[in-house]
Symmetry: D2
Subunit: 406 residues, 4 copies
């Protein structure tokens, strides 16, 4: 066991990470620095201060990172219309590089030589935290208690608490959801419990952020989103910060039963896993961004983006936000967003996100060319013949030489 003097822990204030504080102190004989961030998970972060103090922690960091999270991570990701495996909006994945970055910044500030987190050894989050940490501070040590200790059940954790006099809020511990959950401004996720059977439907009372489409209002609601350089800057004409935008869209989407996903995904560590996600705001953002791009983005740039997107999604899912290849792709993506400006009108209704209209000063839609009516010579239909003939030439030559193109 390498000698560790001080470790920065991503600390939620909950049972698991409280046990980790004590376990780190005991196992490594080191000082623990806690870091608790508000990234919009919907729980107070301030109570973590008192809990950390009670565990003997002297250096306690509590940050509100909501704006940074949406501005520097969520927004860039949505510029690429990012979806993992056709369904998952990467709500958990995109928060991890921010946490990793802050852990390392705090390690540098406090002179810590290690970081620690409460992610298990089967999941993607350990990879995302640790790849980020190593990329930003190559000599850092990483302690992943769930890969090391033998507290593999809830019961053993509780016993550890008792033995080590860690105060447990038993009422909340008992209420504990049967699901493993993660939340931030972009989404809330559920895994485990009955979801481990992919044939079983999620129970209605699992979902926390959205009503079901059935329970949503019978009346559609229409909103207008304003885009500047690919990012939403206003809702219904009201300018907002990135985090405000996402908060508002979450509340609108959730009320209309929007953004639930139930899927089986492929983890980076090699297994398939079932997850349910609520991403109300993100679901609206994806649809609306595609709509404004459809009007303002060049065809070939759009197609190139579509082809690169799965790679980009993969990088984020796998934890390579802080990597040269992600930055390289981001440079390409951002380069395309200069003209992605304008407005999208969206109808929200019982789980549906319906594009009702889009307009832009930078529109490339040219009615005079596209019209079915007389175009006054804007487009010469005779050009199409040459276009087709030359595009067909290689196929004709092949067929002429006897190849069967069927």
């Amino acid at each position: 066991m390498s000698s560790i003097n001080k470790v920065v822990l991503a600390y939620s204030g909950g049972l698991d990470t409280s046990v980790i504080v004590r376990w780190l102190q005991d196992t490594y004989g080191c000082e623990v620095v806690t870091f608790t961030a508000d990234i919009g998970q919907g729980e107070e972060v301030e109570p973590a201060r008192e809990k950390a103090r009670a565990l003997g922690v002297k250096e306690i960091y509590i940050d509100d990172l909501r704006e940074e999270f949406v501005r520097d991570y969520v927004y860039p990701m949505f510029r690429a219309n990012t979806v993992y495996e056709g369904e998952y909006l990467l709500g958990t994945s995109i928060a991890r590089p921010l946490i990793a970055r802050r852990l390392i910044e705090i390690a540098n500030e406090t002179g810590a030589d290690a970081i620690s987190h409460g992610a298990t050894g089967k999941g993607n989050d350990q990879v995302r935290f640790e790849l980020g940490a190593y990329a930003l501070k190559p000599g850092v040590q990483v302690i992943a208690p769930w890969r090391e200790w033998d507290l593999t059940s809830r019961e053993s954790l509780m016993a550890y608490c008792e033995t080590h006099s860690i105060p447990v809020d038993f009422s909340s511990a008992k209420k504990k959801s049967p699901y493993s959950m993660d939340a931030n401004l972009l989404h809330i996720s559920y895994e485990g419990g009955i979801l481990e059977d992919p044939w079983a439907e999620a129970e209605e009372d699992m979902w926390r952020w959205s009503v079901s489409p059935e329970a949503a209002p019978d009346q559609a609601e229409e909103i207008t989103l304003t885009y500047v350089n690919g990012d939403i800057t206003a809702i219904n004409g009201e300018p907002m910060t990135p985090a405000q935008v996402l908060e508002r869209l979450n509340s609108l989407g959730g009320a209309h039963g929007i953004g639930r996903a139930d899927l089986v995904e492929n983890r980076y560590v090699g297994m398939k896993s079932r997850g349910c996600y609520e991403t109300p705001g993100g679901t609206i953002m994806l649809k609306a961004h595609r709509a404004i791009e459809s009007l303002t983005l060049d065809r070939e740039a759009a197609h190139m983006k579509d082809e690169l997107m799965p790679r980009y999604a993969n990088l984020i899912y796998n934890g390579y936000w802080w990597s040269p290849e992600r930055k390289m792709l981001q440079a390409a993506i951002d380069d395309t967003q200069t003209y992605v400006n304008g407005e999208v009108r969206i109808k929200l209704y019982k789980g549906n996100v319906i594009v009702a209209g889009r307009r832009s000063e930078d529109s490339l839609f040219d009615e005079s060319v596209a019209t079915f009516e007389d175009d006054a010579g804007a487009y010469d239909q005779k050009d199409a013949e040459g276009f087709i003939k030359l595009n067909a030439l290689r196929l004709r030559i092949a067929a002429g030489k006897g190849r069967d193109n069927r």
Copy 2:
């Protein structure tokens, strides 16, 4: 003008292609063979026989191609989860290669030296018809009246009819939709009219195949789809042919307000155009196919498919079905579908297609590995450390040499 003896025309029996029959006879002094196909557009094809005969056509082909269409074109396309520009399910595009193929087969049977169609010079369909025709019969001549004649308005067409004694069903001609439409078993499309303003919402009475989500039943309906090698072979346990599957899904989807899309797309000929589409069955198929793949497809094969898909969609959209590159991609796609077998449970509700469960004898989901509970040693969490460390190595070396990975 090259000398033409006989031309095979894709003939709908409607006003436009009736005019084309006469125009071809007059302009080229050639014999016209008509070809009318039932590909599920929802209109009787048999009446085309009498109309063609009245125009003096001697060789009249009327085919029911519905099964062939779904089996050999729609199904292969859906194996790839094909979507063009994130939204369009390619309903029109995928029917064109079949029409092109039949045109050429009939040209070969009847000894015709040319083919003709009623597509305009601004759209994609002319490209799709003609690329297909040239690929299958390189010496064929193509006559595209809309690129040649001066009958550029409805009025001039009507006048032509009068002059040339072409019988017009004026009642139907008057009822004519303000939209340019195309339909087959996979979808119905609308272009033109008020849709030429991308900010304007489509009027409710435009849609023909689906009720609006608002008008759909308040009660969800659940169906089970059976997959064999990536294709649906049964609904609710009842074995069906491909066309039967799609017909049933269209009727189910349409009743539940599913499958409407309103989008701006990039045409191959270089302009943006606004289109509205109803693809009720296809929308269900896409979602369900992804669901069964999520359980049965290897991760890397799935990701490769996702990366290749936009290319494949592009090929179909642009009219390159009959090309070496499409076949090459199809070989890769089909190779992945061997184990895409099983069942998907789908809930249909007011525009939503909700995956409620998926199961398969060929599932790669391994509960013993994926579980949050004790996995009895099926997965060694310690392996994750080495996995992460080696994946991080290049980033650590770079950071260690002073590079800033932010």
Copy 3:
């Protein structure tokens, strides 16, 4: 025929473009502005002035664009290790966007409403000139005489000269090479003549810039190239401008029999064509750039570049330099070159470009990790087990479920 007032012609001073001057004046009754550029083709450009004047041209542009050509076109292209179809270094293609740009700039300066060029209707160059022109000045008219006139043979051109009193240097006209050639600082190309038989070998006396490997010196020559941000800034320690670098490398490479290529390529207009190319400097640059990247570029960035390269090469070959998709890719490529600094030692010998060594302050090669000797703990071999096991997990699960991975 649309009315044209003034046309800017890409004018070489040779027979063909001299005929075009007169033909434009006669056919369009318009004023002709000539533009002649030195892009390193190895011929004097100044004589073009007198010839143009003799043809009655009043506005004559003669530019030395060599530095701009290499700095803004050749260098950016080589950052991507660009090769078309595995063999062609794009020497002709990369010069066209520069010419197109200058044609349009001059059109804007002189108030011309059209541009013209001497490229034939079968080749790629017409496409490259015209796509560039349209992209930079969408309303410009383009006159491509070879697609319009009936002067399809050398004899008819000569006859035209006689009829129109165009002075012809008959001695040089007679000496005319049997090949169609194009030259600039990056390369010289040969097409036509006996090359139209792909089984026939090019004759030794065709080649102009390089000796044959057989005729090259028996003694190898070693040079050192210095890279800064992916571009060569010095040879053998001597700082040079981009054009100076390429000139020197051409002379070095040519003397050592380096850079000949003989290939069959696929033109954008749909046919295959045989071409021979001499690219002495470019051949050295490609090899050396890969060598310095091998030391300094991150693996995943390098692989992404390799995957994007064929697309990028295609864009340049097809004439889409001035397009959003090219700029998007360039942004990604350039983003990777920050650390591509250092030196490469190259041996030139009878057609061979041999990398003898590479070093860099920004090297990512870490001897302490890579060594076969004791690495003092820099790398923990035990990490490999976990790395392999998790990478194998999906394959093991599949095999465990009975799939045959062979």
Copy 4:
């Protein structure tokens, strides 16, 4: 330590793997089965039998796998024009899946529950062996002595031999090359020693299979290769098996100084490493295959292959031959080779592989279209105008709306 009964070892007969036999017997108390393959490494394999017997091995497998190696691994790989990172022909990588497969087949035949190999914990080969083994027999145990034992130096290995009475051929041990080498019919590789300094040039006497270009004959040699479905079936008209082809090309190439490569590559385990390779036959094959494809392959299929190739190379380099994604790509690649038939004439001269001609019954080169002479109407130059205009349309619209396409 899990209990192991019998282990199949990839056994060379050399010092290292001899030590491993004994170490496995001692450490695991298990029976060892040796497997020695002739894959063209150029050393007798039969002597391994006696050595194994002397070590108490009862089940000894010695296979001649040369034909299988070239036919089922090398040839399929060359159909894709596979090169890793622009330089490396994957000589080592492509042999590993064959070894892995035989190890598992023998494990199944002999009832062994484990396999073992002599690859180190820093390299790619451990990954390739083990990914293959796990993919083909998911429950197999893998013993990688170099990751487990403490015999980290040559001295400790020798001491182990002495202690355990393992007979060592000291004369050969002393002559041992300072390089770590690997050889098979496709190549021989060198790593370590002075190569660990990327600035240092390899010494001339390191190279074993080829003379230097300087030492090669002053006279070029011309050969003709016959291709059927993308594979070479004859040299100079003489039909040969795959292994015979490669042997002959190795000898021809080696004699003419062809196929040396000196490069820095990125290992899958995360570090850069310097390697030198001799691949005489493979270097000829790559060039010749591209040449025959240039004549016979459709443009778009060729471009798709070029774009997929780096992925395919990566899969082979990283050890994923036995994976669904490799098979998927192979299906696409093989689909393109139907018409890759014909002959290539190649000149070999002092390190150069020069294509002197290519011809094919399946040539797509159409002289009547491509010619600079009068084409008698085979190609209508006027088609080019429409082709260019429609390809330019999106750029013109953008520029017309005020976008700067520079």
